[in-house]
Symmetry: C2
Subunit: 458 residues, 2 copies
Amino acid sequence: MSKPSPLSGFPELLPAQRFVEQSVIDSMRRTFELHGFAPVETRAVETLDQLLRKGETSNEVYVLRRLQTDPDDPSQPGDLGLHFDLTVPFARYVLENAGKLEFPFRRYQIQKVWRGERPQEGRFREFTQADIDVVMKDELPFHFDVEVARVMAEALSVLPLPPMRLRVNNRKLIEGFCLGLAVPEPADVIRLIDKLDRLPEATVGDLLVAEAGLDDAQAQQCLALAAISSIDGSFAERVRSLGVQHELLETGLAELGAVVQGCRVVNNERFEVQASLGLARGLDYYTGTVFEIYMKGFESLKSVGGGGRYDALASDGKTTYPGVGISFGISRTLIPLITRGLLSGSRAVPSAVLVALPDEESRAAADEVAQQLRASGVATEVAASAQKFGKQIRHAERRGIPFVWFFTVADNGAIAGHSVKDIRTGEQLDADPATWRPADADLTPQVIHAPTPAEETS
Amino acid sequence: MSKPSPLSGFPELLPAQRFVEQSVIDSMRRTFELHGFAPVETRAVETLDQLLRKGETSNEVYVLRRLQTDPDDPSQPGDLGLHFDLTVPFARYVLENAGKLEFPFRRYQIQKVWRGERPQEGRFREFTQADIDVVMKDELPFHFDVEVARVMAEALSVLPLPPMRLRVNNRKLIEGFCLGLAVPEPADVIRLIDKLDRLPEATVGDLLVAEAGLDDAQAQQCLALAAISSIDGSFAERVRSLGVQHELLETGLAELGAVVQGCRVVNNERFEVQASLGLARGLDYYTGTVFEIYMKGFESLKSVGGGGRYDALASDGKTTYPGVGISFGISRTLIPLITRGLLSGSRAVPSAVLVALPDEESRAAADEVAQQLRASGVATEVAASAQKFGKQIRHAERRGIPFVWFFTVADNGAIAGHSVKDIRTGEQLDADPATWRPADADLTPQVIHAPTPAEETS
């Protein structure tokens, strides 16, 4: 067969790049588990009626059929499609297993999803995302909004990636503000505010008048609200200075303040929380807190994550399951960084050591040396063939293996001595394979950052 | 929506069960990386022409189409299907990236695959497998056969699963034996020997005469060869006692002996290697070593893994890439054990500690205590609400959380004291959240084995 070409929208990584992805996934998993979030993995497929309940996403769904369908096979399931997010499968999983789960149910889910979209930078047809959600029966206390925000904040703040910004807002705040202004239909205002990142402010102002029935003063007030943002609790004072009053507005201000405050404990140079009162998120089902995640310096990628509170994640008619959650796009952040050469792994193999082979007869001895190193957690491979040592060293060099191990064999066949060479410095020292260990930074492949381009600023 | 039903052939796990699967995957990954195998993940889809190159599997392939295809979209790729194994995608990946890989290329790949088969125990439509392969350009030295066997042996020997048996044979041995017997078509003999695990020996003997053109004496010799097995090198003597001689037979005996010897260093009560001269494996493309993996006590599941050497894993017309590899069925082993109640996780959440909440006003203090515990690696959650302590303890009990943490608040709002209760023993002791740590066995969810049923024996 001839050399195959990549498929557009289905990114694949070379091994050194895959180390980067794995280290991001491992790091997020560790943070989520430290906070008591349980791992869930759902099947890749859902029935089409589950996938199409929201209607609007129908053109994104990949439908499955067996190449040779057997009409007599009663076990052939109905129409199936690949999931396009992790929320629809999770809602189905909660309903299906409700009797076996303890609520509040905290879960994380890190999996691939598929969308038949037109591929573009940061938008793929197959991609990995990491979701956390807390789900309750009947009623979910507000403090879980703070919790999921803080857990995601902590997870993002330790990633080997450019700094992240979590933008937060609250639907109750916008809705209460509208009610205080006596706006006829707050939902229309939310829908139009959501257009602010694509349309000029003046155009949105015109739409608020033309489509949402606001007068000019109301429209100006809504735009003034949407322009407010702060990385601390000072947004509340600026909202109050607009002079609008409503009980629901106060609830929204208090909730937003609590989320921002809750995340500030993890604020560092790698993570920033921002109350962002122009953030609306288009989807109908959010009922309070809403989130979006941006990668600082890479705002052209748009949001790389988002979420919020939904008072009815799932319902079986008798019980309603409210939830709050955030999703982070692993492929959406990593692939553009890797493609631009800004992120890579330090080597293409896990091996920290290559055991050099003096001759093919010494392979068993070399295997034993390697096994001793592995026993203390040092990933080790043995040279593929007993070429000249110079060639074996260059072989290690090409893979980024930092150390080459040499041993000498006495006339009686026993190993007479060991030494290990750091091939970056050329330094070669005697060593004992039972106790030697490289520096932690050399033990496993590391994530390497190129400097972030200065022209892309937030 | 009403309660959804599971889809036959698409198994899903509850969180406690998912811990078991994760610990198996983590353990295999650790072993593979210690031996220098690099991680690869390929996209879930391949083009249909790649998937159908072998022909016979066509009815197992799930084909994708977009629900609403857009004929004007030039980026819409050709017909795509979900991969049904990890070998076809890996061969494609090697060809596509050959210029960027260093050979010998060791890779592991742990991923889901999909087959439109009729579901039955241990056979699913979506399942996870773990593959290791070593691939070379042009020629792959034999010692890599020993290496992949030993790495998989080591990986299997440390799994929290019933003991595994790796059965090994060598096509050169069978072929050389046939040539020494002057059998007309050794490939026919291999194909018929492969039927021995489904048909009585006498029937296979008849087929060797009727279909492969052997005389009775030749057929008896082939059956005598196929009956030989040993967990050490003694098979060679028993083969030689059959009196057949051929150079290729000697090569096969030496290779098989080397693989068995190489694996014996990991032999323990959880792993056994067995030279098994009746093992043929049906597939055409194996050219030397062949493997199958069985779970001891669960032979009714048939093989739970397999592999071998293929002298042409991939070829682009100019360069041929020989390989040797083994695949292990993670779902195929885990799901039946979990379904039978023989394997489970010790708890449904990662949390080792639940911080009890004296009242809702103390939530910030409780969060701080939890954060101190997490800083030393102890997964911790805070109680969902300030119920009576008895209720909070029962909440922890239902999830299998072993410890409940109590703190008292002084009149000035500062924390006055801490204690931690082991809810299994009732013992409660003063503790410092900055330094306290549970026993390792309580730190993370553990894999729990029920005793293996005595009636299922090997």
